[in-house]
């Protein structure tokens, strides 16, 4: 795994977990890798993975069953999508609009591009 932007590693790992769930590699209700296993897979300090898992638990994307392990929450996909939507609206959209204005692109032009995509 490549960590390349400014974002904290534990958050980048949380997003990597989102990917695994969204693309179906990790299914809702399934048991996921332990902190140590994921640490070895991604070559990251296990304490960092623990912090990612804590964050994912707070977001209710994964659940910890004491003594058994971590599991993908039954409604994890919905949780991730609503989180991603929020991020998109708050961060990506304003930056996108800013660029649109900079390059003087009209709504109609954008709509045409959207329909083609």
């Amino acid at each position: 795994m490549n960590f390349n932007d400014n974002k904290a590693i534990y958050l980048q790992i949380a997003e990597w977990v989102f990917e695994q769930i969204l693309n179906g590699k990790w299914k809702e209700g399934d048991r996921i890798m332990s902190v140590r296993e994921l640490g070895t897979l991604l070559v990251v300090n296990p304490n960092t993975i623990l912090r990612s898992y804590d964050q994912l638990q707070k977001m209710e994307v994964i659940v910890n069953r004491r003594g058994v392990g971590y599991f993908v929450a039954p409604d994890a996909t919905d949780k991730i999508i609503s989180y991603r939507r929020k991020q998109f609206v708050e961060k990506d959209v304003p930056a996108f609009f800013k660029t649109m204005k900079l390059v003087r692109m009209s709504w109609e032009e954008l709509e045409g591009l959207y329909k083609k995509s």
């Binding site: 590693i9 990251v44 960092t48």
Partner: protein, 281 residues
Amino acid sequence: MIQLQNINFSYQKGRTIFDDLSLSLKGGQIYGLFGKNGAGKTTLLKIMAGLRFPQSGSSITLGQHAELRKAEMLKDLYFLQEEVYVPAISIRDYVKCYAPFYENFDNEQFDEYLHLFEIASMDDKLTALSHGQRKKVVISFALATNTKILLMDEPTNGLDIPSKGVFRKIMTMAANEERLILISTHQVRDLQFLIDGVVILDNGHILLNANADDITDKLCFKITDDTATDEPILYCEENLRGNLLVTENIHHIETKLDIELLFNAVMMNKERINELFNAKN
């Protein structure tokens, strides 16, 4: 697990290595020990292991005075030196000879680490191996001892490129909630994501001893196109990707720790860093 208090040390009169140095390290962490050449990193490890005696101050390792070199301490401490000494015997005999000193030595782990390092034969004589190969054997041995404390002096020196990746992998396998691992190194990039505690040694003192989360709580590390920021800048460096900045984290943004930038920022702003972190020291 390791407590150094008010350590004064010099090899000869007039040249002070440590001046009233104190440092406390706890288990369950992988610490990186950084400092310029000649700062005394190796000497510090030797004091912790009971191989050098400070002129004053106390060095307590696992509840024992390190200089007494009690068996209770030695069986739970492994010190991997930069230049590894190996006798003219096979890997198999080396394990037979030295593993009994460590009650938690795990043969299966040792075999697995050797396998990952692609060392195939246990019958090869250690002295017939190259420097890098010897180092791989001794690193594998060091990790398989399962001692509570593991001190490593420049462990990746002499390892080839693929072996550095293997080293990182087996370090994540060997780390656990109890173990204290201290790695002294200049190879910052090798350890970036392994380390959760940063110790910086400078001019006879510990300049910084902080947890990675603590550091990113107080400092921001970022790459930007412009340097326009309202946060106090501690360090700035230009490269192709833009400006690499270390600033104080006044807006509470969580960024990714960059140890190389941190080291430079600390060296250039010793007093400010001390103010920001001294509540911890």
